[in-house]
């Protein structure tokens, strides 16, 4: 399987705090990689580094073999890295349709084609009926779906999902899990951060565990779940 993303000794420092500490990470095409770890472990920061929202303090990032360590965020989006924001960022004064359209324009410069593509994605995300509503009026679940929809509109090779299931009740969560599988089946590589074990264990092909910015474990869900370090630092004995 070709490698989609690789980081070498990726590091980010905030003042005295090393939020991401020499992390070596790789994801292959079509994989779903779960990224877990205690609060403040550096997961979102890792996403921010990979997507270009934050500048690295050290280390390198490769996307499809190409170094992107210093590429600006929009360039990475063009290359095929889509992301959602943990703190959601809809364009509040645009409609749901327009929110997605903005992303769709990247691959479909013509408006007609972009609209068609956006409509398709809305349908897939179950948002069609809200197409004309303003993004402001969506509920939490709706906004989370919109976050995914917008990222999907880029037709990304790699999708970074930051807690898109959190805040959904189990039934809704199941729906989103189903969606994520479908996205993967279309060939998109996914890295997801989530604290809900049922979801992450069920979905991930492989799991990487961060604490205090360091990678402490990596492996299949069962391997990670039984790793004493992980249990100690994150899962708890419960």
């Amino acid at each position: 399987m070709p490698e989609v993303l690789r980081t070498e000794r990726l590091t980010r420092v905030f003042g005295g705090l090393v939020a991401v500490n020499e992390v070596e990470f790789a994801a292959e095409e079509g994989e779903i990689v779960g990224l877990i770890g205690p609060n403040g472990a550096g997961k979102t920061t890792f996403f921010n580094l990979v997507s270009g929202a934050l500048r690295v303090s050290g280390g390198r990032i490769f996307f499809q073999g190409r170094e992107i360590t210093h590429a600006p965020a929009y360039r990475r989006a063009e290359l095929g890295i889509g992301r959602t924001f943990q703190v959601m960022k809809p364009f509040p004064r645009l409609t749901v349709m327009e929110n997605v359209l903005v992303g769709a324009f990247l691959r479909h410069p013509s408006r007609l084609a972009a609209e068609r593509w956006a409509a398709e994605i809305l349908k897939m995300m179950g948002l069609s009926e809200f197409a004309a509503a303003s993004a402001r009026s969506l509920t939490t679940a709706g906004r989370k779906r919109l976050e995914i929809a917008r990222a999907l509109a880029l037709n990304p090779t790699l999708l970074l999902l930051d807690e898109v299931v959190a805040g959904l009740n189990p039934v809704e969560a199941e729906g989103t899990v189903e969606l994520i599988r479908r996205i993967r089946d279309r060939g998109t590589t996914i890295i997801m951060v989530e604290h809900i074990m049922r979801v992450i264990m069920g979905l991930s092909d492989r799991i990487v565990v961060l604490t205090h910015g360091r990678k402490i474990a990596e492996g299949t869900p069962p391997q990670v779940a039984s790793n004493p370090d992980v249990i100690n630092a994150y899962l708890g004995t419960h």
Binding site: F14, G37, P38, N39, G40, A41, K43, T44, Q86, V87, S137, T139, T140, A141, G142, E163, A166, G167, L168, N169, P170, V171, E172, A173, E174, H195, M197, Y234, L235, G236, H238
Partner: protein
């Protein structure tokens, strides 16, 4: 020490945003010392209910009563003075203030100021991470750290009734356990709790009673464990 006599009662509450009505008819009751859970799908109106109680949103019709006080006729800050605190959904921190300043703001009323030191110690004991981040600006905390801070701030006001809106959201499993532990501790101290949670199973397990909200109406009510066994709840909210 149990607080006598302050029951929260909602009668036929209606509320909404702009020309959108969200709550159609919500009646519920939280008695002193109780832990009551409010569950429901996304968009059912749980947050809206809490906001209406806290007077962040004007009720269109119906009543909200706490003891003998009509909350729906009071402004939000006065309600806090009565001892009703809320940990809002989405954290709502004071972003450009430090962690400690956020906590101190939670106890700036004359009623709570004397308890400030001990409350602060209690919150730090509960969330040691927050002590480490004392002087960090709230906006730079991780998602989970922000959630802890929001809960901590709510506790700083030594409330009679604490309303929690999805406190476990975005927390690591161990912390989730802790938070549910804290909620039970709070209740044990005699503080009344109204809990909104998507972690339905856990919530129902610790709740004395629970209400199920659907499209702005209460559709089910009963003791927590009983609802947990209910086939409807299991199918609709637990996916079992």
């Amino acid at each position: 020490m149990r607080d006598p006599g302050f029951t929260l009662t909602l009668r036929h509450l209606q509320a909404g945003y702009g020309d959108v009505q969200v709550l159609w008819d919500v009646s519920l009751e939280v008695r002193p010392g109780e832990l009551v859970a409010l569950i429901g799908a996304n968009g059912a109106g749980k947050t809206t209910t809490l906001r209406a109680v806290a007077s962040l949103l004007r009720a269109r019709d119906g009543e909200v009563q706490f003891g003998t006080n009509r909350l729906d006729r009071m402004s939000a800050h006065d309600i806090v003075n009565l001892g009703v605190a809320m940990v809002p959904e989405g954290r709502q921190l004071f972003n450009q203030m430090t962690v400690e300043e956020n906590l101190l703001t939670g106890s700036s009323l004359s009623r709570t100021r004397p308890l400030r030191r001990s409350n602060l110690d209690r919150v730090y004991a509960l969330f040691p991470l927050l002590r480490e981040r004392r002087l960090q600006e709230a906006s730079t905390l991780s998602g989970g750290e922000q959630q802890m801070l929001a809960i901590g701030r709510g506790l700083m006001s030594a409330p009679r009734l604490l309303m929690l809106d999805e406190p476990s959201l975005g927390l690591a499993p161990t912390i989730v356990e802790e938070v549910f532990g804290v909620v039970q501790d709070i209740r044990r101290e005699g503080i009344t709790v109204l809990l909104v949670e998507q972690n339905v199973q856990q919530a129902l397990r610790i709740a004395d009673r629970a209400y199920v909200l659907e499209s702005g109406r209460i559709v089910l009510a009963g003791p927590g464990l009983e609802l947990l066994q209910s086939a409807e709840v299991r199918r609709a909210y637990l996916g079992i």
